[in-house]
Symmetry: C2
Subunit: 177 residues, 2 copies
């Protein structure tokens, strides 16, 4: 499974009114706290991988473990992702610690999700960074088509896909420090 993702800085006010005018399906708002880990055997910044534990809060709390592989398509930030929900976040933290993984940085954001024509549009307010809009989908193979669709969705929301930011929130935060 490949994740195709476009992200731009954009004022939420304007995008939200476009979403309200369109057929967008508002999914809901969550708070996400993402902890990124350093590996014991390699420098993820160099290998362009990431290991992330995400705690997502809405009514309850869910914890997800995600591995992100290196970019396979630079243009749209497409990479292989593997993920599972886990039942016990403390247990997971202890497992990672035992294996030699160390928490490196944490990204906190409020995310409001919409569904638009098969894509997920997220209005993200990232602690320390500001407001962003992300358009995302998953595909088993046809990255090019998925990427063009994501650009079309951005266009329809009045956001210029050419202003895409390829740096992750983690990268932006580390650069800002």
């Amino acid at each position: 499974m490949y994740e195709v993702e476009l992200k731009v800085r954009a004022d939420h006010e304007r995008v939200r009114s476009r979403l309200d005018d369109s057929n967008a399906d508002r999914v809901g708002t969550v708070v996400q706290e993402d902890t990124y880990y350093d590996a014991p055997d390699r420098d993820f910044a160099e290998t362009d991988e990431a290991l992330r534990v995400r705690e997502e809060r809405d009514d309850g709390v869910t914890t997800c473990l995600t591995y992100k592989g290196p970019l396979v398509e630079a243009e749209s930030k497409t990479r292989e992702e593997a993920e599972t929900a886990v039942a016990d976040s403390d247990g997971l933290a202890d497992i990672l610690s035992g294996l030699g993984y160390e928490p490196a940085a944490t990204v906190r954001k409020e995310r409001t999700r919409y569904h638009v024509r098969g894509y997920t549009v997220s209005l993200d307010t990232v602690e320390g960074l500001g407001e962003f809009v992300e358009v995302e989908t998953e595909t088993e193979s046809d990255v090019e088509t998925a990427r063009n669709g994501a650009r079309d969705v951005m266009d329809s929301l009045g956001v210029d896909p050419d202003e895409q930011i390829r740096t992750s929130y983690l990268g932006l935060l580390l650069a800002a420090e």
Copy 2:
């Protein structure tokens, strides 16, 4: 949390009748398939650690990820354990693969569990190895007391705790190959 565990080879027939005669609470029978992983940065056989994915089947299937740290008390095979259930076993396998962990060996067994005075007694039939009885509990600190209690439970089942096998099923299987 420390896991205290005693294991001996024992014919199940005799132990089962002792359990039936006592106040033992029969929990149920499951099939467990344990896959042990090799790490990319160290030799777990040398460091005396283990990373295990357990798929347990009864009515449904549950998947657990477990890290076992080195022995802290050799006598009773006491070690630190960290564990969490995971929702997606394929996702977990892909995460481990991405991080460089490789499946090394698989142990399959049928396990019937009983609760006896705060201990879990397991009658294990291990594929390729035969029948074993394991007495197990968890303790936050008092390993010595927990270990003596486990020996008492073994005694009460007519099994000699001095015949303890300290080698894991994985170790026994690898030695048998």
